[in-house]
């Protein structure tokens, strides 16, 4: 678990430096101690497979993922603004079930967060053993699992699988 601690130490130290921008000598010395304390106390919980941080391909997929995510996020805002601004409030809400093949904690967290921030969907609960996510959908277009999965999950899952699995 020493690798996990090292990764957390680096991340915590970088976050500390950004928080006290522009860092001087005092900040850096204090930062080393704080990051050390954090990584000793909570390092073993941070990542399960620290060697993933060494894979360059995962970072490239992440860079590819960010603009797609931001664009979906923007579309979600237009969509909600339209529904809220329309005089009749055109919504057909409901909670549907979608299937996911992701297994890792980080992957599932990112998938659920992406679902929440994309058009009309909000993840409510997750069934890890069977791989189901329950999603509140403001405009239910498909009640069965396959149709909903296709419309909500697929576009993110194929990228997130390459980043986190």
């Amino acid at each position: 678990m020493i690798k996990s601690r090292v990764v957390l130490f680096i991340l915590a130290f970088v976050a500390w430096l950004l928080f006290c921008w522009v860092p001087d000598a005092q900040d850096i010395i204090a930062g080393v101690f704080v990051a050390l304390l954090v990584s000793i106390l909570t390092g073993d919980m941070f990542v399960k497979r620290p060697h993933h941080f060494g894979h360059l391909k995962r970072y490239l997929w992440f860079i590819y993922y960010v603009p797609i995510f931001l664009w979906e996020c923007f579309k979600a805002n237009i969509d909600v603004a339209y529904r809220v601004g329309h005089p009749d409030i055109p919504i057909h809400p409901g909670i549907v079930k979608v299937k996911t093949n992701l297994k890792s904690d980080t992957g599932l967290t990112f998938l659920a967060n992406s679902i929440t921030l994309t058009p009309g969907t909000l993840s409510v609960d997750i069934d890890r053993e069977k791989g189901y996510i329950y999603v509140h959908w403001i405009e239910v277009k498909s009640k069965d699992v396959e149709g909903a999965t296709k419309m909500i999950v697929e576009k993110f899952e194929r990228i997130l699988r390459r980043i986190f699995e």
């Binding site: 921008w21 079930k97 921030l117 409510v124 403001i138 239910v140």
Partner: protein, 110 residues
């Protein structure tokens, strides 16, 4: 130049924040309200913070604004998820015109 772009970003953020709050008032039940408030307010506030960064540049304020935007993007969906799950578990039903509730049918995972 970056001043003008920053002000445009802040204006877009304000419009989205406004629609988020309007959704909070107009939509029928807690889940739909969460939808409106999470999406619009998250991206609206991130947009305001990014506009601030463009105006002040890479300084103490600007870098903190960027970090705040990142943390907001990471944490707002988690809190929305927690609120929705907690509401459903403590017995808040969906709006009566809702189409389907698979979560209820599966007996709310323990």
């Amino acid at each position: 130049m970056s001043n003008i772009i920053g002000i445009i970003f802040i204006a877009i953020g304000l419009v989205f924040d406004f629609f988020g709050c309007l959704g909070l008032v107009r939509l029928p039940d807690v889940y739909n309200r969460l939808q409106a408030s999470t999406k619009c307010v998250t991206l609206g506030t991130c947009s305001i913070l990014f506009g601030t960064f463009l105006i002040v540049g890479v300084s103490a304020t600007g870098v903190k604004a960027l970090i705040c935007a990142t943390f907001l993007l990471l944490t707002a969906p988690v809190s929305a998820h927690a609120l929705a799950r907690g509401a459903h578990k403590s017995g808040v039903r969906l709006w009566e015109k809702s189409v389907v509730d698979k979560y209820q049918e599966d007996g709310e995972l323990k």
